[in-house]
């Protein structure tokens, strides 16, 4: 049912967990509330230096979340532009709608920006 890339990341997910005192955080259900994910970020000097995920979701979604953290770490926070196609190219195609995982990552980034704005005031 799942390809080896998905199963490998599902079995040994990279960056699983939650960053303590994160600079940005968000959690999100998918549309029919059958999966829930959370991303937490550490941002230093404008770069994402830490990104972790937690999930109650199927193996593909878990693999997607893990892959998103791998993509995000090291990127300038204002230049994160991961797409669904990047995920499909990396993990193979699927019937599962995983768009909410990307939305959640961008919401965590938005949370970081919001906190930054508040701290400026």
């Amino acid at each position: 049912m799942y390809n080896s890339k998905v199963l490998n990341l599902f079995t040994n997910p990279e960056n699983a967990g939650r960053i303590s005192k994160p600079d940005g955080i968000a959690d999100l259900y998918n549309a029919d509330k059958t999966a829930h994910v959370e991303f937490s970020l550490r941002v230093e000097n404008g770069n994402i230096t830490g990104c972790k995920f937690r999930a109650q979701a199927n193996p593909y979604i878990i693999a997607v979340c893990s892959k998103l953290t791998i993509f995000a770490i090291g990127l300038p926070v204002n230049e994160v532009s991961v797409t669904k196609d990047d995920i499909i190219a990396s993990l193979g195609n699927t019937d599962y709608d995983f768009g909410f995982c990307l939305d959640c990552l961008y919401q965590a980034i938005a949370d970081y920006r919001e906190k930054q704005e508040k701290s400026k005031k």
């Binding site: 049912m1 799942y2 199963l7 599902f10 079995t11 997910p13 699983a16 967990g17 959690d27 259900y29 029919d32 509330k33 059958t34 999966a35 829930h36 994910v37 959370e38 995920f53 937690r54 999930a55 109650q56 979701a57 199927n58 193996p59 878990i62 019937d95 599962y96």
Partner: protein, 395 residues
């Protein structure tokens, strides 16, 4: 890696006794039962014998048993065939929300073709409420179909009372008995059942064979045309070896019912007791005494059922997230949500179904694997902490 099969409600392994009964037919009896020559007559004789054997196990007449290619076919045929044959009396059907998809989809098909269907709610243990049933009945109601035992949670409905209610209003009553057969004596006369579905592969028989009992008192129209087989009601050359195997499986199920039930009950009690001690924050769904002994539906808080199933499978333990017919889909189990659970709680459910070949040792090994898998998934679950906190606060 040792493999442990705990998905016996999806299907069961073929019994050696059944295989031995099928081999002479597979290798030596190739006549078409519909042919009038000696080869055909030999096959036809075995077919009659099998029909008679199965009929006796439910106290039916031989000519009330119709062979099909599956339980799903028998269910679909019962719904569509009984509705069409009795359309002149009305167009309303009553069923429950926790039926097998082969009943529900057949009902939806009828809705697209001028029939009206009421889908009864169930309580948190999966029982239909009689008040709901009574208020759903209309002058136009022609058929009630409620499954005997549910395939995901095991709940056994009060079939005799439902049949009596139906007959008081001159309504035909069908029940899907696929999961109950072999667990309790079924007497269609005593229970007042007009039509009943059976399947061979759930009772250690071959796949690809089912049967529909239809009382001689009710009319049914065919849904498969083009042959005079099954007394003109179901076209298609009969799977003779399968039918012979089915009859043998029925014989064995009847013969060993008490022993098997006793063993399954002990194994299930052991499994539930060990699992609930070993894993915290789990709930046994529909934990009622009125259920088949081998189906155990468990909600693991904060864990996705499909992820748990995958981890267990990678470690040799075969289970299911719902019925085999829906476990490939993206939706949550319609049975579990009908119990009143939310979508994300329903996604945390695993069905364990124990079989007569399982052992205590296997269950111990399976539990150790489950404990590890649940721990691993909860370690990065985004909902586990908040859900357990909410439960504690509620207390």
């Amino acid at each position: 890696m040792e493999k442990i099969y705990l998905d016996n409600s999806a299907t069961t392994p073929l019994s050696a006794e059944v295989l031995n009964a099928m081999i002479p037919v597979l290798t030596g009896v190739y006549g078409n039962p519909a042919s009038i020559h000696s080869f055909g007559r030999e096959a036809s004789s075995l077919l009659d014998e099998a029909r008679d054997t199965i009929a006796k196990t439910i106290n039916a007449h031989s000519n009330e048993i119709y062979f099909t290619a599956s339980g799903s076919e028998a269910n679909s045929w019962a719904i569509v065939g009984l509705a069409n044959a009795n359309h002149s009396r009305g167009n309303h059907i009553i069923t429950s929300k926790i039926e097998h998809p082969s009943v529900l989809e057949a009902c939806k098909y009828l809705e697209r073709n001028g029939f009206e269907v009421t889908y009864l709610d169930v309580d948190s243990n999966g029982f239909i409420r009689f008040a709901d049933l009574l208020s759903a009945i209309k002058p136009s109601t022609i058929l009630i179909s409620v499954m005997f035992a549910n395939n995901e949670i095991g709940t056994i409905q009060n079939i005799k009372a439902i049949a009596e209610t139906a007959h008081e209003k001159n309504i035909i009553f069908h029940t899907d008995a696929v999961q109950i057969y072999g667990h309790m004596d079924i007497d269609v006369e005593d229970l007042g059942i007009d039509a009943l579905t059976l399947s061979a592969h759930k009772i250690y028989g071959p796949k690809g064979v089912g049967a529909l009992y239809v009382s001689n008192k009710v009319k049914i129209e065919p849904i498969i045309f083009g042959g005079n087989q099954e007394r003109g009601k179901r076209g298609g050359t009969t799977n003779l070896a399968g039918v012979v195997g089915f009859a043998k499986a029925c014989e064995i199920a009847k013969r060993d019912m008490r022993t098997n039930n006793h063993k399954l009950r002990l194994l299930s009690e052991y499994f539930i007791s060990k699992l609930t001690s070993a894993v915290e924050n789990i709930t046994i769904n529909a934990h009622t005494k009125q259920k088949v002994p081998n189906i155990i539906s468990v909600n693991f808080v904060g864990v996705d059922g499909e992820s748990l199933l995958t981890k267990l499978d990678m470690n040799g333990v075969a289970v299911s997230t719902g019925s085999a017919c829906t476990s490939n889909s993206l939706t949550v189990s319609h049975v579990i949500t009908a119990l009143g659970m939310s979508n994300d709680d329903a996604r945390s459910t695993i069905r364990f179904s124990i079989g007569k070949n399982n052992s205590y040792e296997e269950l111990d090994k399976a539990i150790a694997i489950i404990v590890k898998a649940v721990e691993e998934l909860r370690a990065f679950s985004s909902t586990y902490g908040s859900k357990t906190r909410k439960k504690k606060e509620a207390k």
